[in-house]
């Protein structure tokens, strides 16, 4: 309560002293934000790879897969959480169900597009040299689809980081916590802090994925004087 009075009465728009005195809380919420994002992307990627492989192996299943993941993507996040809370409660599980379902459309589509975009000559020569289906997938198709898959992952990551702030409503929101409490207390510093941190996390994660992509796909670089 003292915190609230103290905050609301201050005329300054942004109070750095409040930030300095709450560094521990900020670090904790940023950590939580990254964890929620990481779990969502990890689980989302695993499910998407499985769905994409089914779609690639049995082409007839691909339209229904995109239809369902597309439908999930269109559900407003608030509505989804409101629907899930009575079933799974105010838990991390509730947040993750929502977050994961929003990654599926982008990831499935990019994995399939990445694999389908491989040069047919590469595919033919791999088969002609005696690759079996499984090794072809893991040694040739997925590695070559990596740039497209990672491009999808970057979009999914930025989307997820934004959505995590919404999950503050059900008690697990990373830096969304600051936005929510700031709004409740009319405390601008927290609202601004939450928003800026969310943007910074998105930028930082995106840059990390760019670096990861460069490291994982050295063949796409053109530094050593191509002829």
């Amino acid at each position: 309560m003292t915190l609230l009075a103290q905050a609301a009465g201050d005329p300054r728009f942004f109070r750095w002293d409040w930030v300095w005195s709450h560094l521990d809380l900020i670090a904790q919420k940023v950590g939580e934000h990254l964890l929620l994002t990481g779990i969502a992307l990890g689980v989302g990627l695993a499910i998407s790879i499985a769905l994409a492989l089914i779609g690639l192996r049995f082409p007839k299943t691909y339209p229904p897969i995109t239809w369902v993941t597309g439908l999930l993507y269109t559900i407003p996040s608030l509505a989804l959480f409101a629907f899930l809370v009575p079933i799974t409660g105010f838990t991390t599980l509730t947040s993750e169900i929502g977050l994961v379902s929003y990654t599926l459309l982008i990831l499935v589509r990019n994995i399939v597009a990445g694999v389908q975009g491989i040069d047919p000559a590469v595919h033919e020569s791999a088969l002609g040299m005696g690759y079996g289906r499984r090794r072809l997938l893991f040694e040739i198709e997925l590695p070559l689809a990596l740039p497209v898959i990672l491009a999808g992952l970057r979009i999914a990551a930025v989307t997820t980081i934004g959505l995590v702030t919404v999950t503050a409503l059900i008690g697990k929101g990373g830096v969304g916590y600051f936005i929510l409490t700031g709004l409740n207390r009319f405390f601008d510093t927290e609202i601004v802090l939450g928003s800026v941190l969310s943007v910074l996390i998105a930028v930082a994660v995106d840059l990390t994925l760019v670096v990861l992509e460069r490291w994982l796909t050295p063949w796409t670089r053109q530094e050593r004087g191509a002829t």
Partner: protein, 366 residues
């Protein structure tokens, strides 16, 4: 004829959704250690035929055996690891270095690291690929280098059979000609059984020990050594496909070595002008060659004879010297471009004789 390595018996392929056969009732034998070239217009099923040998396309009916074994009796991936495969676009794996690309089949076969490394080194030398390329990615190589890497990759596990689908189709004509020569050179050392598909009849004639000319629908019009096909086309289709310069093409397959050479209008440097005039009369020319021992020093015009002894005439050199391994096509080219209308032939340094247009056309008529 050496033992048959690949045998196609009454092979037919009808693609799903099609009424007509892409390849119809085709029978063909490829002898071990030979290059068989499948050539024909597009739609003749030559690529389909090739792909049936490594089961990238499965025949609708008929049997194919490789080294006496029915290809349907082994799992497709095992069969393919024993058959080298090179396609026009090469299809190197963009995400792997050249060394790793070449190591593909040995890795699939589970060779150990040291053996793979040693084999990759050997292959770089074999196909004449710069060893500094080994850590490059395919996109960093030129077309010719990629083609060599593709051949090295196909040869990696030393398969007895090599299938090549338009292997030189994607490189420019100068590089293509060089790569063709390299393939022939490689084949002289390795004695693989090669089936090569092309739409280029000149490439077929140059590379093939035997050429199979296919018509639309995979109908075999003629199968035999290129010289035989050129001399004796089996059908109007073959004749048409060979083109109007069939005679010239045949000449390119005939080495000068196989032709009886005439001495030509030559005299020894010590002879008198009467001897020179006599030899010019016999050949009906107005010039004569001058021999010093076994060396052909050059030639001079009849008008230079006058009364001076031949020994004091400064002979003009022959611009082109042909060897016994050059073809009659080279000889014809020399004949029609030189002042003297003959092609002097040398066996090393020794003057072996001369070829005239008449002699060349006599050879064609034989």
């Amino acid at each position: 004829m050496p033992e048959t390595m690949i045998r196609l018996e009454a092979v037919t392929k009808v693609f799903p959704g099609s009424d007509v056969a892409a390849v119809g009732n085709l029978s063909l034998e490829v002898a071990g250690g030979e290059i068989a070239v499948l050539v024909g217009p597009s739609g003749c099923g030559k690529t389909t035929t090739l792909k049936m040998i490594n089961r990238l396309v499965e025949p609708t009916s008929g049997t194919i055996t490789v080294a006496g074994e029915d290809i349907m009796s082994v799992p497709a991936h095992e069969l393919r690891r024993r058959i080298g495969y090179v396609i026009q676009q090469i299809g190197l794996f963009p995400h792997r270095t050249i060394a790793d690309n070449i190591a593909t089949v040995p890795r699939l076969l589970g060779w150990d690291r040291a053996r793979i490394d040693q084999r990759v080194d050997e292959l770089f030398t074999l196909v004449d690929l710069d060893p500094t390329m080994c850590n490059r990615y395919p996109r960093e190589l030129s077309g010719g280098q990629r083609q060599r890497a593709g051949v090295a990759r196909a040869l990696a596990a030393d398969p007895p059979v090599l299938l090549m689908d338009e292997p030189f189709g994607a490189v420019d004509p100068i590089i293509r000609s060089r790569l063709q020569d390299e393939l022939l050179d490689l084949q002289r050392r390795l004695h693989k059984t090669i089936v090569l598909v092309t739409h280029d009849i000149d490439e077929a004639i140059k590379l093939g020990d035997r050429v199979a000319i296919l018509n639309i629908g995979g109908v075999l019009e003629q199968y035999g050594p290129p010289a035989e096909i050129l001399r004796d086309p089996a059908s109007p289709f073959v004749e048409d496909f060979l083109g109007s310069d069939r005679g010239i093409k045949r000449l390119s397959l005939m080495p000068i070595r196989d032709v009886a050479l005439e001495p030509g209008p030559v005299v020894a440097a010590g002879s008198d002008s009467e001897a020179a005039r006599a030899v010019m009369d016999r050949y009906g020319v107005d010039w004569f060659g001058i021999l010093r021992g076994e060396q052909l020093a050059g030639w001079a015009w009849a008008s230079e004879l006058d009364d001076t002894p031949i020994a004091t005439i400064e002979p003009k050199p022959f611009m082109v010297r042909l060897g016994l391994d050059d073809s009659l096509r080279d000889a014809l080219d020399t004949v029609i471009t030189s002042h003297t209308r003959v092609a002097p032939v040398f066996d090393g340094d020794r003057f072996a004789g001369m070829l005239t247009a008449e002699a060349i056309s006599r050879e064609l008529a034989r």
